[in-house]
C-alpha cells in the first residue's frame, strides 16, 4: 500500500471530525447529562431529608400524643376524685338532712300527741260530766265541779 494523499486526507478528516464531535455533541451533552444527574441526586437528597423530617415530626407527634394522654388520665382521675368527694359530701348532707327531718317529725308527732291528749282530756271531762249527770238524773253544774273535773282530766 502506498502512502497517498487519500490517507492524509482521511486522517485530517478524522481529526476534524473528532474536534467537531467533541465541541458540538460531546461537551454540551455531557453537561446536560451531568446537570440531570445532579438534579436527580439533589431530588433524592431532598426526598431523604423530607423523609427524615417526617420521621422527626412523627416522633414529635407521638410524644405530644402521649403527653396529652397522660394529661387526660390525670384530668380524669382528678375528676373522679372530685366526684367521689362530692358524693361523699352529699351523702353527709343527706344524712344530716335526714336526721334533721326525723327530729322535726318526731317533735311534731309529740306535739300532736300532746294536743290529742289535751283534747282527749277535755273530752273525758265532758263525757264524765255527761255520765255523772245521767247517773244523778240531774244537771250537774260544770262550773261548781270544774276543779274536780280538771283534776280528773289531768289524771288521765
Amino acid at each position: 500500500m502506498n502512502i497517498t494523499l487519500t490517507l492524509i486526507a482521511q486522517m485530517a478528516a478524522f481529526i476534524a471530525l473528532i474536534y467537531f464531535v467533541n465541541s458540538l455533541l460531546w461537551k454540551p451533552m455531557s453537561e446536560v447529562l451531568e446537570a440531570r444527574q445532579k438534579k436527580i441526586a439533589d431530588g433524592l437528597a431532598a426526598a431523604e431529608k423530607g423523609k427524615h423530617e417526617q420521621e422527626l415530626a412523627e416522633k414529635n407527634a407521638m410524644q405530644k400524643i402521649s403527653e396529652a394522654k397522660a394529661q387526660a388520665t390525670e384530668i380524669v382521675s382528678q375528676a373522679q376524685r372530685r366526684s367521689n368527694e362530692i358524693v361523699e359530701e352529699s351523702k353527709i348532707t343527706a344524712r344530716e338532712e335526714a336526721s334533721r327531718i326525723i327530729t322535726a317529725a318526731n317533735s311534731e308527732i309529740e306535739q300532736e300527741i300532746n294536743r290529742a291528749k289535751e283534747t282527749l282530756r277535755k273530752d273525758v271531762s265532758a263525757i264524765a260530766l255527761a255520765g255523772a249527770s245521767k247517773i244523778l238524773k240531774k244537771e250537774v253544774d260544770a262550773k261548781a265541779h270544774a276543779s274536780l273535773l280538771n283534776d280528773l282530766a289531768a289524771q288521765i
Binding site: N2, I3, L7, N22, L24, M29
Partner: protein
C-alpha cells in the same frame, strides 16, 4: 476497462474487480487503476467518508443546540443512549481521566458504523447510478479502502505514542523497549519484541476493519453474481429467489458485523490509549 461497466455480467472476476476499484485521480496506474504515487486521491472514499462526517457534524450541531435537559425527545434519547454507552466503555476500560478519549471513541464508533453501513446498500445500486453520470469506478464503502482504516488507526497510533511520551516520559518508554518482555539479559530480543508489539496495534486495528468489510462486500458481490450468471433461461425462477434469500440473510448478519467491527475498533482504541496512560509494569 471502462467500457465493460455496462455489461458487468460478462466476466465474474472482472465484475468483482471492477466493483472493488476506487475512482483514482492523480498518480494512478492507467491499467489497474491503483494509486501508484503519493499524489493520488480516491475520490469515492473521500466523498462518502466526508459526506458521512458532514452528516455527523450537522446532526451533532443541530442536536447540540436543542438539547433539553428535562424532557429529552426521541432522537436526543437515542443519542444519549449511544453517548452513555460509549462513556460507560471508557469508564470501564480507561484508567485515569482524559477528556479526549471519550469523544474520540464516540467519533470512531459512529463514523465507522456509518461508513460500514454503506455496505448494506445494494452493491450495484450506487455504481449503476454513477455509471449514468459517467463515473466508471465506484467503491461505495469507505472502510473497504485501506486508506480510511489505516488513517484512523495511524491517528490512534500517533496518540498512543504521544501519550506514551507524555505520561511515561521518553526515558521510561524507551526502557520498556529495552527490558519489557524478558528482562535485562535479552535486550536485543526485547527491542524487537516490543517494537512488533507496538506496531501490531495500528496494523491490527486498521487491517481488521478493512479485512472484515472487504470480505463482507465480497460476499455481497458473490451473492449478486448468482443472479447475474443466470440472467437468461428458466433457472431465473429458482435462482432469483435464492439470491434474494441469501442477500437478506447476509444483510441481517452484516448488521451485526458492522456494529461489532465499529465497537471493536472503538474498544481497542480505548484499551491501547489506556495502556499508554498506565505506568510500565516492573519486570
Amino acid at each position: 476497462m471502462s467500457e465493460s461497466a455496462q455489461n458487468s455480467g460478462g466476466g465474474t472476476v472482472e465484475y468483482i474487480q471492477h466493483h472493488l476499484t476506487n475512482i483514482c485521480v492523480g498518480d494512478c496506474d492507467p491499467i489497474t487503476h491503483k494509486a501508484s504515487g503519493f499524489m493520488s486521491l480516491h475520490l469515492d472514499t473521500i466523498f462518502f467518508s466526508f459526506a458521512l462526517a458532514a452528516l455527523i457534524i450537522l446532526v451533532s450541531a443541530r442536536l447540540g443546540k436543542n438539547l433539553n435537559a428535562d424532557k429529552p425527545g426521541g432522537f436526543q434519547n437515542f443519542v444519549e443512549m449511544i453517548v452513555d454507552f460509549v462513556a460507560q466503555q471508557v469508564r470501564d476500560t480507561f484508567p485515569g481521566h482524559n477528556p479526549l478519549i471519550a469523544p474520540l471513541a464516540l467519533t470512531i464508533f459512529v463514523w465507522v458504523w456509518l461508513m460500514n453501513f454503506m455496505d448494506l446498500i445494494p452493491v450495484d445500486l450506487l455504481p449503476l447510478i454513477g455509471s449514468f453520470l459517467g463515473i466508471t469506478y465506484l467503491k461505495v464503502v469507505p472502510t473497504t479502502d485501506l486508506n480510511t482504516t489505516m488513517a484512523m488507526s495511524l491517528t490512534v497510533f500517533a496518540l498512543i505514542l504521544y501519550y506514551n511520551f507524555k505520561v511515561k516520559g521518553a526515558a521510561a518508554y524507551g526502557k520498556s523497549f529495552l527490558f519489557h518482555p524478558f528482562g535485562k539479559f535479552l535486550m536485543p530480543i526485547n527491542i524487537v519484541m516490543t517494537a512488533i508489539e507496538e506496531l501490531a496495534k495500528p496494523l491490527s486495528l486498521g487491517l481488521r476493519l478493512f479485512g472484515n468489510m472487504f470480505a463482507g462486500e465480497l460476499v455481497f458481490l458473490l451473492i449478486a453474481l448468482i443472479g447475474g450468471s443466470a440472467a437468461i433461461g428458466f433457472g431465473l425462477f429458482f435462482i432469483l429467489p435464492l439470491q434474494a434469500l441469501l442477500d437478506l440473510g447476509w444483510l441481517i448478519f452484516h448488521i451485526l458485523v458492522i456494529t461489532l467491527q465499529a465497537f471493536i475498533f472503538m474498544v481497542l482504541s480505548i484499551v491501547y490509549l489506556g495502556m499508554a496512560h498506565t505506568e510500565a509494569e516492573e519486570h
